[in-house]
Amino acid sequence: MSTLVIPGDEITINPDVPVILGPGMYNDPVTRDILPVNAGILNTSNSKKGQTIYVEYDSKRYTPAVGDLVVGIITGSFADSYRVSLANFSTPVSLSYMAFPNASKKNRPTLVIGDLVYARVCTAEKELEAEVECVDSTNGSDAGFGLLDGGMIIEVTLGFARSLLFNNEFPLLRDLAQHCKFEIAIGVNGKIWIKTDEVKDTIACYRSISDCQGKSYDQFRDIIKKHFQEVTTTVEE
């Protein structure tokens, strides 16, 4: 069951259970009312700790939040950090040389300008420049972060990227996997990196993922099939 909420709507919640507020929700400090501040689909879930409530909304502009997995482009390098762009025309974030697995003062990472990295947002204070890291500082593992070599970038809306990454029922990757094998890194900043063995497969994946945005699940299979057929016929011509 999905309910659409719009900023200012009234929300009925069970007052006896503690409430955890997620993105898109706001607690008025005076009246103690809980109000949605973004337009989207209302999500509620109950757990032992209490009820979680948040708004799932789709936007184009990315704002960093702690714990987000992102794909960024290195745009500059300084004495002790890289500058990383997470989205065009947005404030860049920084990536410290020490935020790599096995990093030390002598052991510098070898990324160059223009490289793609998969990283995790570690600080995101609104007054400060956000920081990302290529090592999971919560447990010290490298967790697949770091340089993304080769491949191609697809830009999608933030909501689409989130459902691709978190929604286990989302059939797109499963359907794609039936056509070719690929490596993929999904950034919640709306950038998806994909790499396959052959250029034509990457092209087909690129077109399929771009086209599947905003379509219903049952259309995915046909879209993917169409694009894979197209790339094979172009070769034969």
């Binding site: 490289d115 491949g151 250029v199 990457t202």
Partner: protein, 306 residues
């Protein structure tokens, strides 16, 4: 233009690699021009052109003014191109002095105005005293490459579509008849220039391009935004249906073999032909739609011709 869009090395390498293997991201062949969608507005001379995601709007307006002193028998014709942040965040509001903006407006100026596509002598009303001033305002609404091509089509469509009010001259006095009173008159169009833009990519290194004999450079027609950002050279050819070269502009960039460039010009001609025909056809359809009284006013007898 488009300076701040960041493209990663992987992405640029991939696009070039795909081009080497004959693929373009949007499933077009190298010589394929995007489909042009022409939409006419309610008013005359109001046109919206769509080519893929690129959107360009053009509106023609006219007024009566005094001609230039040194050209008493000619009317005035201005084209102003305006890029605003509406077309994309890479464009700055009110800043039209960027390299690309200047090149775009100069090419359109040369293609349409300097080539005499509009009969400006026909805009003269009283020599040295009164003439029509025609203005074309081009606005870029959305950007996915190919601005020059799209805006040239937009200006030409709008000029063909526009009709200025009819006038009567009695000595010094000029009477302008409202559109409701008298059928307005179309502008005199002498030829229809069409711009076709080619983008060049270098699959090898610079040395091979300068010294090599292979001429392996990749040539594609009507690049999309990403391709425009990555291309190493660009050539805009403007032709009309009479097999005339109206304007050619290759302002630097990758050095290209003269024969390849000639080949581009010939390819451009067939595209010019198709687009000209499409424009004329759509103008005709729109005119018929507007001309609701023609059936009544027609002097021919309606006769079955079976």
């Amino acid at each position: 233009m488009a300076k701040d869009i960041e493209i990663s090395t992987s992405e640029s390498k991939f696009i070039l690699e795909a081009l080497k293997q004959n693929y373009r991201l949007d499933n077009r062949t190298f010589d394929q021009f995007r489909d042009v969608k022409i939409q006419f507005g309610e008013e005359l001379g109001d046109v919206l052109i769509e080519m893929g995601k690129t959107k360009v709007h053009c509106k023609i307006s006219s007024s009566i003014t005094e001609p230039y002193e040194d050209r008493p028998f000619e009317g005035l014709f201005f084209i102003s191109t305006e890029s605003s942040a509406m077309a994309g965040p890479q464009f700055e509001n009110g800043n039209n002095t960027g390299e690309d903006e200047v090149l775009i407006s100069r090419i359109i100026e040369k293609a349409v105005r300097r080539s005499g596509a509009l009969d400006i002598e026909g805009l003269c009303i009283v020599a040295g005293r009164k003439c029509w001033a025609i203005r074309a305002n081009v606005h870029f609404l959305d950007c996915d490459g190919g601005f020059v091509d799209a805006s040239c089509i937009a200006v030409m469509c709008a000029l063909l579509h526009y009709k200025k009010p009819d006038i009567t001259v009695r000595g010094e006095k000029i009477i302008v008849h409202p559109v409701e009173e008298r059928e307005p008159v179309p502008l005199g169009i002498l030829h229809i220039p069409i711009c076709v833009t080619f983008s060049f990519f270098n699959p090898m290194d610079m040395e091979e391009n300068v010294k090599g004999e292979s001429n392996s450079e990749i040539v594609i027609i009507d690049a999309s935004l990403k391709e425009e950002l990555l291309r190493e050279g660009v050539l805009t050819v403007t032709l009309n249906k009479n097999r005339e070269v109206v304007q050619v502009s290759k302002a630097g960039g990758l050095p290209m073999d003269a024969l390849t460039l000639m080949e581009c010009c010939h390819k451009a001609y067939s595209i010019t032909e198709t687009i000209t025909n499409q424009i004329l056809k759509e103008i005709k359809i729109d005119n018929e739609k507007r001309d609701k009284y023609s059936a009544i006013l027609s002097s021919e007898n309606a006769r079955e011709t079976s």
